[in-house]
Symmetry: C2
Subunit: 177 residues, 2 copies
């Protein structure tokens, strides 16, 4: 099977991306340390038409050459904003009716396989720091916790990989509605 | 919801991992350049109980400190082997009845959303180089191509993220059989 050339990939222009209907999902990155991870998450958000990314706490913001290296320009297409305190965004989104869910390992969390997307709801996923995850106080503010089932020796996916998993999962479920 | 402590995560020991039934999926990494990506893929393979990883071509092998930094020990749990020529592994697996699929963007590729896991089959996914993807000659050797639908301006997920997406997708579909 012939591989497609870049010119055949039907890439959207940045202007077309801005106009395109998004999937009803917002991301909060709370204290993500690695610039590579941030850039990589922008690229994934671009692929799956994520509505917006909030960068919070120590999460660095574009423009930055090390974010650019992995984002490859996706910081121009995906809408984003910086807010130091993630809990401010959580409260604001909740007041607008958005369902805010932490991606974490917690008691009575919902396994990702059991998470159902409701077509009338809008969602926000919070991803946390590479080592400490989402702070407990922020988890407490959430409407629930989704956990990626992990069966190995580590139980600790890379944060950009975990984001890829939950974004693909959401995108696919939303498209099937 | 209370976050779980590391001691509550029911992590398998390396010995328990080796003994555990795996999901019927093998990975081939063909010319993956970044040590961070290789390590991160090991960690994902550990989480989803992947059977084996073949490292081919320029893909570096453990032990290496930069692989360790992102694999965090998953190179001890997940079975792996090096083979310079990926096509040798492809032919060998096919002769054993394994269905070998490239993860690529190609004419008449199967969108990941339409890919169905057959409980009587065993599978191998090939992931390629960060820039060039899976070589055309290796794609030609495959039994098919799976494509991750991407709707943005880039159409180029990070390789570790793409691996996370296809491994989660396979793991979830297999568990539902």
């Amino acid at each position: 099977m012939r591989k497609l050339k870049n010119s055949e990939l039907k890439r959207k222009t940045v202007a077309a991306f801005k106009m395109a209907p998004k999937i009803p999902l917002i991301l909060i990155l709370a204290d993500v340390r690695s610039l590579n991870n941030i850039g990589s998450i922008f690229r994934t958000a671009d692929a799956f038409l994520i509505e917006k990314i909030f960068l919070c706490g120590i999460t660095a913001t574009p423009p930055h050459k090390d974010i650019y290296k992995t984002a490859l320009g996706a910081t121009d297409s995906v809408d984003w904003a910086y807010e130091e305190r993630a809990e401010v965004i959580v409260k604001k989104l909740q007041s607008e009716g958005v369902r805010v869910l932490a991606i974490e390992q917690a008691e009575a969390s919902l396994p990702l396989s059991d998470f159902r997307v409701d077509k009338d709801e809008k969602y926000c996923f919070i991803l946390g720091n590479e080592v400490r995850g989402v702070p407990q106080e922020l988890v407490d503010d959430c409407d629930g916790v989704i956990e990626i089932p992990q069966e190995g020796t580590k139980h600790s996916l890379n944060i950009a990989v975990a984001t890829g998993v939950v974004l693909w999962d959401f995108y696919q479920k939303f498209k099937m509605l």
